[in-house]
């Protein structure tokens, strides 16, 4: 187990180094990143002063090593507009995004997995076909459109839910559904294919021939085996939800990281944008590592293979 974990942690570290390198060079796609940080009305003297203050006039290698050293200390720089550390800004908005992601994940798993089970167990029935249609529609619906439609129906027309901002739990309902619907489709598809795969195996057929009823078969025999692909998707989907929050938070004026990113782009506050992207990438890598560990808990054979 420790060998397996060390190997995976090493891979994650290499990926994070790669991500940081990619972001560093993306920032320099147009040459001098100083121009990303100054308002369009800035004079040449202002630009030169900022370039010197941020060290962009030093050799590229020195800048790169400095950038990595800052990252190692969890220093994401300072917002050029607000003059506050990027980490402080992200930290103040993170709880809102996490709340939204948790709500969306509840919608995605709470609806998606039961639909997946329905699609696998009652194949070809009318209800399964209707559920498949719902999944397909959810997969094709842009989050910003479903969000706007929900505001029109539930806020403007019926007046049941608040249209935007934060407050009590009612504020969380529409953003969670708008963000969670796309992931719901993914969970339904994965749960369906994982269940069908397991149901066709010998042990499941043997259990059935011994008279084990479907609910018990699913819970006692199949659930654990079928959960591996679902865990993989869970890790991927959480990072997708964090990224998707950029659009949903804009629609619902939700004060999370997504909203601050869009505001930062409009205000040319590039350090915040860079910080959010780095954070998103780190979260993705960390989640993949956690899902690797979870596999080994669910399926001990994976640890043996990894240690070999």
């Amino acid at each position: 187990m420790p060998g397996f974990l060390l190997q995976r942690a090493g891979q994650a570290l290499v990926t994070i180094l790669g991500v940081a390198t990619l972001i560093f060079f993306v920032q320099r796609l147009t040459g001098d990143p100083t121009y990303l940080l100054v308002p369009e009305t800035a004079t040449k003297a202002d630009i030169d002063a900022l370039r010197h203050a941020l060290g962009f006039d030093r050799p590229l290698v020195v800048q790169y090593l400095d950038f990595l050293a800052d990252l190692a200390r969890f220093d994401l720089g300072q917002s050029v507009v607000q003059r506050v550390p990027v980490l402080t800004i992200i930290g103040s908005r993170l709880p809102y995004t996490l709340m939204l992601a948790a709500g969306a994940l509840t919608v995605a798993c709470g609806i998606g997995i039961p639909i997946g089970i329905l699609l696998a167990v009652f194949r070809d029935s009318a209800i399964a076909k209707a559920a498949a249609g719902f999944v397909l529609a959810a997969q094709s619906m842009p989050t910003f459109w479903s969000g706007i439609l929900m505001i029109m129906v539930f806020s403007v027309l019926l007046g049941w839910l608040p249209p935007s901002s934060t407050g009590d739990l009612r504020h969380l309902v529409m953003p969670s559904f708008a963000l969670g619907l796309l992931s719901m489709a993914t969970f339904a598809r994965i749960a369906r294919s994982a269940l069908l795969d397991e149901l066709s195996k010998d042990y499941a057929r043997t259990a059935r021939s011994r008279g084990v009823r479907t609910p018990r078969l699913l819970l006692r025999h199949i659930a654990r085996n079928a959960s591996i692909p679902v865990i993989t998707v869970l890790a991927l989907e959480i990072s997708n939800l964090l990224a998707g929050a950029v659009i949903v938070e804009t629609v619902f004026a939700w004060p999370g990281i997504g909203q601050v990113t869009v505001q930062a782009i409009l205000a040319r506050d590039f350090m915040i944008v860079q910080g959010v992207v780095l954070l998103g990438a780190f979260v993705t890598v960390a989640l993949n590592l956690i899902s690797d560990v979870l596999y080994s808990v669910v399926d001990p054979r994976i640890v043996l293979d990894g240690a070999r």
């Binding site: 529609a137 869009v262 782009i265 944008v273």
Partner: protein, 283 residues
Amino acid sequence: MSAVAASRLRQGLGLRRWWPLTIVALVVLAAIFAPWLAPYDPNTQNLVGRLKPPGTVSRAFHYWLGSDELGRDVLSRIIYGSRVSLVVAFASVILSGTVGTTLGMIAAYRRGWVETLVMRVVDVFLSIPAVLLAIITVAVLGPSLVNVIMVLALTRWPRYARVAYSQTLSVATMPYVRLAALMGAGAPRVMFRHILPNIIGAVSVVATLEFGLMILFEAGLSFLGLGVQPPTASWGSMLSTGRNYVATAWWVATLPGLCLFVLVLAVNLTGDAVRDRLDPRFR
């Protein structure tokens, strides 16, 4: 015509099978013939006819699908907006597909350090949420049609590279490929003449599924103000401005969103059909 072929043709002509492709074809035709189909210029303003509901007549305008906040015809803007969605999706899929497939093939055929390098880079790209990578790159390059295409190609090529890599690994060990190499065919000839035709099916499956996603990505970037810039009509930017009028003018946001939804649904269904045809696991 044999009986089998006739039966296949009948099955193939079923409405259920063809409606997604028909919708995609209609949108493509609308985009190509936009100047002839659109009743008005998409950017002509009529300030006295602002936010008029569908069916209103104002001055020389007959707003079949209503007007927006500047009195522009929503129908004409939807027709012209389809051009942006399709051009971005086509171009980014072709660009990312070509780059990804070539790199994936080279990695699997060359093996060694090339394989390690390419597949590590693929891992790095896949570990950054695509939306965030697209946002930061557009923020650096500045929003424009060409930049959106470049950004989507940059963020999506690893999907193709992964598929091309795994497919090439299995094809490259086949006797006819080895024989071609033994007979003196160079690596480019082996890859593009002998391996590519055998992996193009799997790559096409990814491409059709990616096409719908690219339409959504473009609309998402335009929605955030990072896509094509005003006054050029795009469904995403129409939705973005329509958001401000949900209480007073539902049509401004609802109709472009509906077009986006129907097109992506049709593309996804077409993609599923292509996968069923080309991927043996789904037969």
